[in-house]
């Protein structure tokens, strides 16, 4: 392994088509053998492996830790809503995980997990890749997919009073929702001050956004 690394440092690593094809076939063979992955025929550009939700964590850990693949970068997590998709029968939602390797540019693949509308649950990978924390929050916000085991599953883009998931196909794109209050930042601020060693003399009371007293003078119509 160490001699391989030295060679890589000496020669620039180029993502040729052959290298990409070789990686795709070897990676898919491993995924198929160990986790029962199915290659998606919709992706004609690269490798997309469809995987069962309960095998997701194992396969991600395998791809990250295997010295042969070194998928050490999670590029993005995307949600897909197949409602109204032509010639499609299957679960309504899908979550796509896009991985690549920082040192081996030919190594890139995506994993796809189908999620049915009845059971919107996918295991979290935010403990494996810390960036997945926010990306999973975004998918949760826009599609309503629940990531089991996520430490802080809140909305990230839309405001707290938002009802519904705007990137679902059945959400009317022009339905606008007013926010009536400012974000209540003091608890977060106090926690940060405390972490820096400051002493909090009087703790602020958290006000819920639907409290009448707090809404006085706000823009709610």
């Amino acid at each position: 392994m160490s001699s391989d690394c030295e060679n890589q440092v000496k020669e620039p690593v180029v993502a040729t088509a052959e290298a990409r094809r070789a990686f795709e076939s070897s990676a898919f063979a491993c995924l198929e053998k160990e986790f029962g992955a199915v290659r998606s025929d919709k992706d004609s550009w690269g490798l997309t492996a469809v995987i069962a939700a309960d095998k997701l964590r194992d396969s991600v850990l395998f791809l990250k830790n295997d010295p042969q693949f070194q998928m050490d970068m999670l590029v993005d997590i995307a949600g897909v809503d197949y409602l109204g998709f032509e010639d499609y029968a299957g679960p309504r939602f899908a979550v796509l995980y896009m991985f690549k390797s920082v040192y081996l540019p030919a190594h890139r693949l995506s994993l796809k997990v189908f999620v049915s509308e009845a059971d919107l649950k996918v295991p979290t990978i935010s403990d494996i890749y810390p960036i997945a924390n926010w990306q999973e929050r975004e998918v949760f916000d826009q599609f309503g997919v629940i990531f089991v085991g996520h430490p802080d599953l809140r909305r990230i883009l839309n405001h707290v009073e938002f009802v519904g998931n705007p990137l679902r196909k059945d959400y009317p794109a022009h339905r606008r929702q007013w926010l009536s209050t400012n974000d209540y930042m003091l608890p977060v601020l106090e926690a940060r001050l405390e972490a820096k060693g400051y002493k909090i003399l009087s703790r602020s009371k958290e006000i819920l956004p639907n409290e009448e007293e707090y809404l006085t003078g706000s823009i709610k119509k």
Partner: protein, 213 residues
């Protein structure tokens, strides 16, 4: 007075004119920059265009020290209460310049998350079109605002304010009077009921002593 008026450093003018002249030549902007319009505002402020030529010398990043709220960029629904709050924190007199297509009408963001024009939230004095508008447009808007300020009347506004206050005081007085009347009625009724009870007790006592001398 006549002797003072003959001094060389003495002049007469209208109060409105002096106040408006002072206001229009020291418009300090508060840049509420959320998008690329704010970049154009930076070049408006910097030396090539130099907004301080018309007295907008300082860009103040606190609403308490500025006169003009320059809203530059897309305002989302998550941002809207913050903008509203900052507008409310501006001290009177205050004006609002709405810069660019996004702030004026939502622009290309015709979707669930963008406010379709900040005039849904706060009153706007001058709109600037463009995506983003050039610094010349911002200057044009400031000149428009200056003209608008020269048309304002300080004394008239003051009279209106005093009138409003007077009406508010009158309304409050009426309310208090009604409250007092209601309260005193209640009290009188209470006392009357109490008097009835006392009377009955006295009669009972008298009857008792009549029967048992």
């Amino acid at each position: 007075m006549t002797a003072e008026a003959q001094e060389s450093n003495f002049f007469t003018s209208k109060l409105d004119f002096v106040v408006n002249w002072g206001r229009k030549n020291s418009l300090w902007p508060f840049p509420y920059g959320t998008a690329c319009c704010a970049i154009e505002f930076m070049s408006t402020e910097s030396s090539r265009y130099d907004l301080s030529r018309i007295g907008s010398e300082y860009v103040r990043f606190t609403p308490r020290q500025s006169d003009v709220l320059a809203v530059e960029g897309t305002i989302t629904y998550k941002q809207a209460p913050i903008l509203k709050r900052i507008y409310e924190q501006l001290a009177e007199p205050k004006w609002v310049v709405c810069m660019g297509a996004c702030a004026t009408s939502g622009g290309v963001y015709d979707c669930y998350c963008t406010v379709p024009g900040i005039d849904n939230i706060i009153p706007v004095d001058v709109y600037i079109g463009g995506c983003p508008p050039r610094p010349e447009s911002f200057f044009d808007a400031m000149f428009d605002l200056q003209n608008k300020i020269m048309d304002e009347s300080y004394m008239k506004q003051r009279t209106e304010r005093v009138k409003e206050q007077l009406e508010a005081i009158k309304a409050k007085t009426l309310e208090c009077k009604a409250e007092l009347a209601e309260f005193s009625h209640e009290k009188v009724n209470e006392i009357k009921a109490g008097v009835g009870d006392l009377k009955a007790a006295a009669i009972r006592k008298a009857e008792f002593w009549k029967e048992n001398p």
